[in-house]
């Protein structure tokens, strides 16, 4: 029983490490000025959350490709116009599809993405328990 607790403990630690989003900015931050801190925070949080369409495994903040810079400008202009995070994301999804957001919505097409891992956990825990019972 203790072993299982240790395994769960280790798993939860590694989950914590994984969920720390990588926050690096490889572009010139001076180019963007804001009226207030709320706008600024919204802008930078969106850049972490939005994916670069060209370089599929990078977010906008980590990419300097022309399309990423265009999208940064687009996001910046919408932030300055006092659009909310939801409105800005909806605007980009309308054009680029769910692909553009790293945090896709829960809908039939993404069920396997959202619930697959839990299914795997249940399956593997279930089989461990079954196996142990058989052995006992």
């Amino acid at each position: 029983m203790n072993k299982i607790l240790i395994i769960i403990f280790i798993c939860s630690i590694s989950l914590g490490i994984l969920s720390e989003a990588e926050q690096k900015f490889t572009f010139d931050k001076e180019a963007y000025s804001f009226d207030n801190i709320v706008q600024e925070e919204l802008f930078y949080s969106l850049l972490v959350e939005l994916r670069c369409p060209k370089c599929q495994s990078s977010n906008l903040s980590g990419s300097n490709s022309p399309i990423s810079n265009d999208l940064k400008r687009e996001v910046y202009e919408l932030v300055i116009k006092e659009q909310s995070a939801e409105e800005i994301k909806a605007y980009l999804v309308e054009r680029y599809g769910n692909f553009i957001i790293y945090n896709p919505p829960i809908e039939p097409a993404t069920y396997i993405l959202w619930f697959g891992p839990f299914l795997l956990i249940i399956l593997s825990l279930g089989s461990i328990i079954l196996y142990r019972r058989k052995q006992a």
């Binding site: 369409p53 399309i67 265009d70 054009r95 680029y96 692909f99 089989s127 079954l130």
Partner: protein, 173 residues
């Protein structure tokens, strides 16, 4: 029953491997297109050849038509250029160019040297219309039907095979 249970992990593992491998060989790398069956977006940009002339959606007047996203820095665009010329010469349908993040003079020079398959080219230096179209590179080609709706989006080079498989059927509608 016990034997079955013993080999269950192996069965699951093998199934998973087969499923994942089948995804590997799936060559359809096209991204989803949010704009299919939507109306072509409004725009207001200058003409490539005349920077004083402002083009809008109403200038794309002959439908159905192709919108081709191209640039002089785009190598694959040079590859598909002869096919676009062929579509023009055979008067299959009008092609409108979207010159994407390019140098105006270089782009004009290229069309003069290699031939111009486009009715006109929209000069989109900042990639504004491109973002409204969900474009992320060049070349990309959109098919606009008689009603002005986007029916096909193709990312990458368009050639005879792609034309027959993806585009030709919409022309007869």
């Amino acid at each position: 029953m016990k034997k079955l249970l013993d080999i269950l992990p192996l069965v699951i593992f093998v199934t998973l491997i087969i499923v994942l491998f089948s995804f590997l060989s799936n060559e359809d790398d096209q991204l989803e297109t949010a704009l299919i069956d939507e109306s072509f977006p409004e725009f207001s940009l200058t003409s490539l050849t005349d920077k004083t002339k402002v083009l809008t959606k109403s200038d794309i007047s002959e439908l159905p038509a192709l919108i081709n996203v191209w640039a002089t820095w785009c190598i694959a665009c040079k590859v598909e250029h002869p096919f676009l010329m062929q579509l023009k010469e055979e008067s299959i349908l009008p092609i409108y160019g979207l010159n994407y993040k390019d140098n105006r003079n270089k782009a004009i020079a290229l069309l003069q040297a290699d031939g111009n398959p486009f009715e006109f080219s929209i000069f989109d230096f900042e990639g504004r219309l491109a973002i409204d179209l969900g474009v992320y590179g060049a070349p990309e080609t959109f098919f606009i039907d008689k009603a002005g709706l986007i029916r096909v989006r193709h990312v990458g080079v368009i050639d005879d095979k792609v034309w027959k498989e993806k585009f030709a059927k919409y022309l007869d509608e």
